[in-house]
Symmetry: C2
DNA sequence: TTGAAAGCGCTAACAG
DNA sequence: CTGTTAGCGCTTTCAA
């Protein structure tokens, strides 16, 4: 049972293929109501679905959006993928071509090639490497690209859109929350490798400490794993870093992690060491993964407005292909602190 | 800067388009080595990539695999998506078209339509609803479909392949582990809605109880949430069911959950109720999510061989399109118990 | 060993 | 209002 073509429909309805095409594209003004109905009837009878491939060869468009993430095994990226698919379908009826890049530049470049070859014109790239040269190049080749979770200096002449949460503010909020509980010896935990978003979070964190009346101290501790794209690696790193924290003299009373997976690992490692959260150490994560509500204790974290960001990304990525003169911009979304049970006043000072 | 076409290359190399096509498809026997080299040179010079759309219109194939999952926000499906993408790329150089079905039959049907329209010929469907009629229909329409995590009666004349872990054995293993620790009052936790895989797990669980010398008792408790496709819903359900467990008279000494997300919620709920795991209740999950190693206590669970299953699914789904006479079959993979810290001997009897 | 030409299914001028 | 026709970029006979 192979698919019916536009010719089959035309033959059955006793009209020309162009009339069928006009019906499919709802150009009612070009046909009499009667013919229109007759063609529709034939379409239904045959269960005709236009071949998108053929259509695309003609129009140059395909209703598909590319999405590149480091790894869907990381719940954060899984949630993002879900939101983006939902937005793309709702806003434009687009489907999603998904690629896991493993934060590997050559895999990412390969994906760009394939997207172009498939005729896909819009792509959203999540948490890419520091270098965006390959994206700019892809934009030159006609791809509409949106970069997520990276900010870029304004007026940089970039050809791509940037959408991100206000990571600076996220770091600021985390520190602020801890300070308000009376903590004065804080630590910020981050894997090795400074992405833009990580740097922003750290800066916001440090700024808040600096803005405080004075006596608070803070350090940034970098994990030993160079690149963690999955989720177990990240959690494992967090668990390993627990001992690093425990050995500090004096031990900090609070730590904020650059993301929730790291916090989940940290919680586990701390527990293994016999340290209680929040009695001995307070912990603040970032992302508000849905599992963050079910850690022990429930993780206080900084939530990012995922659905709103997804809508914006899809809007820009797909919208640009019909409006190529849209000027690229940066769009920043505000995070919010979600208080659960991993923060308390410090027992020691 | 639009893409170079086969004509551009032909012109530059001073040959016909068919020669370029032959070079692209490595038909060395059809050209002299010299011409071949000249064409290759032109290809590189122009950075020519063949347009897959045009190629497909001719050949009818596109190197893309459809993947339908309930929701990538559920870490389990995120991991599966990752493994499948990896296999598809490694084994066939295929890309992935991803769809979240939310376990909604009409969304699933819509995806099938679109896959066909896009010219995609292979699809893997994860954890679908009870009814597979729509899949059989899609198979009739020329789709090569693989159903994951559903077994089907042998010799059913099905047109689709079935790949699944041995869920019966998974249930059996979980019960066996608990019994070996001396538990005799067990409970099996499952959301409302019996999918095939859930039923199999329950049956395996009950069988092991039944096979025991005798004094062990078991019940199956069904959650009140009809359909949970995300992950927070599942964990929330687990948390809510903790009180149901706590109120039982007598309280069971061990519970196994149909998946890890449920277990994670349960752990959290139990903790909130002041019940200790494993001292007061033992818990065994299923799936071995990578976060299962970082719960408190570490979750003892039944692991499924994801990578091997992904390879098999991809092999069948894509392999069938070039071998349409391949007879559909069921392939079962063996799970294994992963022991961590959520099981201990019961304090009470 | 190479090239010419006929489509794959659809859209969009352009004619009638 | 309806039909004819020329491609979109590629593969693939079939001739030369």
């Amino acid at each position: 049972m192979s698919m019916a073509t536009i010719h089959d429909v035309a033959a059955l309805a006793g009209v020309s293929v162009s009339s069928v095409s006009n019906v499919m594209n709802k150009r009612t003004s070009k046909l009499s109501a009667e013919t229109f109905a007759r063609v529709e009837q034939a379409i239904n009878q045959l269960g005709y679905r236009p071949n998108r491939i053929a259509r695309q060869l003609k129009t140059g468009h395909t209703p598909m959006l590319g999405l590149l993430v480091p790894s869907t095994a990381n719940p954060m990226y899984g949630q993002i993928a879900l939101e983006i698919e939902k937005s793309a379908q709702k806003l434009f009826g687009y489907r999603l071509l998904l690629g896991n890049t493993h934060r590997n530049p050559s895999e990412e470049a390969g994906m760009f090639q394939d997207l172009l070859a498939f005729g896909i014109r819009s792509v959203i790239v999540v948490s890419s490497m520091a270098d965006e040269a390959h994206m700019e190049e892809a934009a030159l080749n006609g791809l509409s690209v949106v970069s997520f979770d990276r900010t870029t200096p304004a007026e940089s002449g970039s050809l791509i859109d940037h959408i991100a949460p206000d990571n600076f503010r996220a770091g600021y909020l985390a520190a602020d929350h801890l300070l308000s509980y009376g903590h004065s010896h804080l630590v910020f935990l981050v894997p090795r490798g400074r992405t833009v978003s990580r740097a922003d979070k750290i800066n916001g964190f440090l700024r808040r400490i600096h803005d405080s009346s004075g006596c608070a101290t803070a350090e940034v501790i970098e994990g030993s794993v160079a690149e963690s794209f999955g989720d177990s690696e990240l959690a494992e790193l967090g668990a390993a870093m627990a001992s690093q924290i425990a050995q500090m003299q004096p031990m900090p009373t609070a730590v904020v992690t650059v993301n929730d997976m790291l916090a989940i690992g940290l919680l586990s490692g701390l527990h293994r060491l016999g340290l209680r959260v929040p009695e001995d150490v307070s912990v603040v994560g970032m992302d508000d993964l849905s599992i963050a509500a079910f850690t022990k204790p429930g993780l206080t974290t900084v939530a990012m407005p995922l659905a709103a960001m997804a809508d914006a990304m899809v809007q820009r990525a797909i919208g640009r292909v019909s409006q190529p003169d849209m000027v690229p911009g940066s769009f920043i979304f505000q995070p919010a602190l979600v208080e659960r049970h991993s923060v308390a006043a410090p027992a020691r000072k």
